[in-house]
Amino acid sequence: MRDVIAAFILLNAVVLIVTYLTYVERKFAARMQSRIGPYRVGRPHGWLQPIADAIKLLIKEDIVPALADRPVYNLAPIVFLIPSLLIFATIPFAPGLGLADLNIGILFFLAVSSLEIVGLFMGGWGSNNKYALLSAMRAVNQIISYEVPFVLTALIPVLLAGSLQLSAIVESQRGLWFVAYPVIGQLAFIAFIIATIASENRVPFDILEAESELVAGFRVEYSGMKFALIQLAEYTHMFGVSCLGALLFLGGWLGPGSAHPVVGAAWFLLKALFIFLLVTWVRWSFVRIRVDQILGLSWKVLLPATLILLMATGFWVAWSGGRVA
């Protein structure tokens, strides 16, 4: 029973945080573009905007295209959302503050988060729309080719820490965060950020949404609450991956006063927010690149680079007797 209550609290907290992440992003983007951003709903600075958006989407008409594959079309948002929420099960927010600190936590994370492609493809296929179909084809191409470098970069901290357990990875960064490890740490972090952007489908890798070509990609036919669910799933996934980055490279909850779980969780969320804003910063300053260029970058540059990096880390760990951290 205790676990059910904890899961309930966690889910609601995650959804709330994610809702406000959209607000943070909009304000951040507005600043970059010399605008103000949301301002009208709620004083000060339109802080009620995400709530207003959610209500608006809730009361909108739900349209199903006449020729859509109805079960697939209706299931897709749910199939898309569940893996994104599931990844939070293993994330430790602070020592002892997490749902399940599995000893294969990172494996669980990577396995579940790569399931989102199923929901995405279902949405693209079920809509019976050419834009959506093209987008689904692109999605499969892109996500599969970026899943590999993403996993490889995530393995580097695993090698350094000698554990697949996320809390153990954080604890082994007590001396020095992995991002501060000479050369390997920084390169791995950069590769991780690139793979993150690609797996989150954000500019410059947002070819599946690509609103100037494919209008809105796989979600072009979705409206109302289903659209809201897809949007929620995307941002949840984004937040989850930012959390993973904070755990793997930025020392998770470690920081002054992190013995207290609340302070530790605050540190952790701050670091996750930092990665989220880093990705957002990239997003709002680059143009989108083409599908063939994206695949080329993945297979010709990122994959060999991460493989070499992983090998170098392995040699280093072996050379220093299996105890780096």
């Binding site: 050419k130 947002d206 070819i207 070509e213 989108r288």
Partner: protein, 387 residues
């Protein structure tokens, strides 16, 4: 013919010839108005393109026969609504040429001034929307778009102070201009162009060291010199393909001969070359604006009395073709006058219309994402295509 090819496809055929016919537009985020492209795709690659225009047809040429020489200039601005000053100028130049009407020097300089400011405003819009096409409304493209609109607003503010309107001006009239510069306007204009000049450096910094931008624009949509001349494209597209032709220098009008400016020419022929041409044109326009403000002569702004009635201007019998270098290329007006207050016939030559004809030649073979990049680099305005 590529369009015949497009119609012969089997939609989603599973027999090995799997082609997909996809409709882009007329309502599409990157349609630049109302343009419809019927794309035939093999995977992501475009096999053929069929373009459909005419959604914005407003009978401009017929309208020209029913409106007088005093009325039509403010309607002429609605053909190319992004560069309204240019089309007004073309129409009144045609009328003046038939009627052999002298235009005072000050009016000629004012016409050059507004034409060049209009070129700056129009190129701002082009850069913004082109980046929007490549980067998307939810990415870096939107950032450039909003920056460009910030600068365009400044120029529109100047036009508002000059004519009272921000988009369609009615600034020109047969024999000169309708408005003179208000007090303090010249200084404000200098400040504005100085600001835009600085901002241009920022754009170039932001875009030309931006790898995604470079790989999206370089080598994409190459128009060879021969193809450019054969199809008859004009303006920055033509100069981006290495043809050194600009009406302002090669067939001067409205005292363009008095000013010192360069015609930027690039030989690449790709989207990036067209981008470079336009970025340099920005700077040349700013130079011309400064020269006009420095050398603006005193005197009347019109050789005709101020307008009192719509039928006041009468043009003797004759016909002519007047052309102007607009932001998108050659804008021409063919006018036949019969001695009355209205023209007998009128024909527009829109730069966007002839530029758009290049699309079926260069698009096939590219990816879907490149269609919008090429389309944006052509910079069509559909008010001018469909008229």
């Amino acid at each position: 013919m590529p369009d015949l090819e497009a119609r012969r496809v089997i939609e989603l055929g599973y027999g090995g010839n799997e082609r997909l016919v996809m409709n882009m537009g007329p309502q599409h985020p990157s349609a630049h108005g109302v343009f419809r492209m019927i794309l035939t795709l093999e995977g992501e690659t475009i096999a053929a393109l069929d373009s459909v225009i005419g959604y914005l047809h407003r009978c401009h040429e017929k309208l020209g026969e029913t409106l007088t020489y005093a009325q039509y200039p403010s309607i002429a601005s609605k053909t190319d609504y992004v560069a309204a000053m240019t089309s007004e100028l073309t129409y009144v130049m045609a009328a003046e040429r038939i009627g052999k009407i002298e235009v005072p020097k000050r009016a000629q300089y004012l016409r050059v001034l507004v034409a060049e400011l209009q070129r700056i405003a129009s190129h701002c819009l082009w850069l913004g929307t082109w980046c929007l096409d490549m980067g998307g409304a939810l990415g870096g493209g939107a950032t450039v778009f909003l920056y460009c609109f910030r600068e365009r607003e400044l120029v529109l503010d100047l036009f508002e102070a000059l004519t009272g309107a921000r988009l369609l001006y009615g600034f020109h009239q047969v024999g000169g201009t309708r408005y003179d510069l208000p007090e303090g306007w010249a200084q404000r204009c200098r400040d504005t162009v100085a600001l835009i000049d600085r901002r241009l450096d920022e754009y170039e910094d932001m875009l030309e060291s931006n790898t995604p931008f470079l790989i999206r624009s370089q080598g994409v949509g190459v128009v060879s010199r021969e193809l450019a001349q054969e199809v008859g494209i004009a303006g920055p597209l033509l100069r981006g393909s290495g043809v050194d032709f600009d009406i302002r220098r090669d067939d001067p009008y409205s005292s363009y001969g008095d000013f010192d400016f360069k015609i930027p020419v690039e030989t690449g022929g790709d989207c990036y070359a067209r981008y470079r041409v336009r970025m340099q044109e920005f700077r040349e326009s700013i130079r011309i604006v400064r020269q006009v403000l420095d050398g603006l002569p005193e005197g009347p702004i019109s050789s005709k009395p101020a307008l009192k009635s719509v039928g006041q201007v009468r043009i003797p019998k004759g016909e002519t073709y007047a052309r102007v270098e607009g932001p998108r290329g050659e804008v021409g007006c063919y006018l036949i006058a019969d001695g009355g207050p209205k023209p007998y016939r009128m024909k527009w030559r829109g730069a966007s219309f002839s530029n758009l004809a290049i699309l079926p030649h260069i698009v096939p073979g590219h990816k879907v994402a490149d269609v919008v990049a090429i389309m944006g680099s052509v910079d069509p305005v559909f008010g001018e295509v469909d008229r």
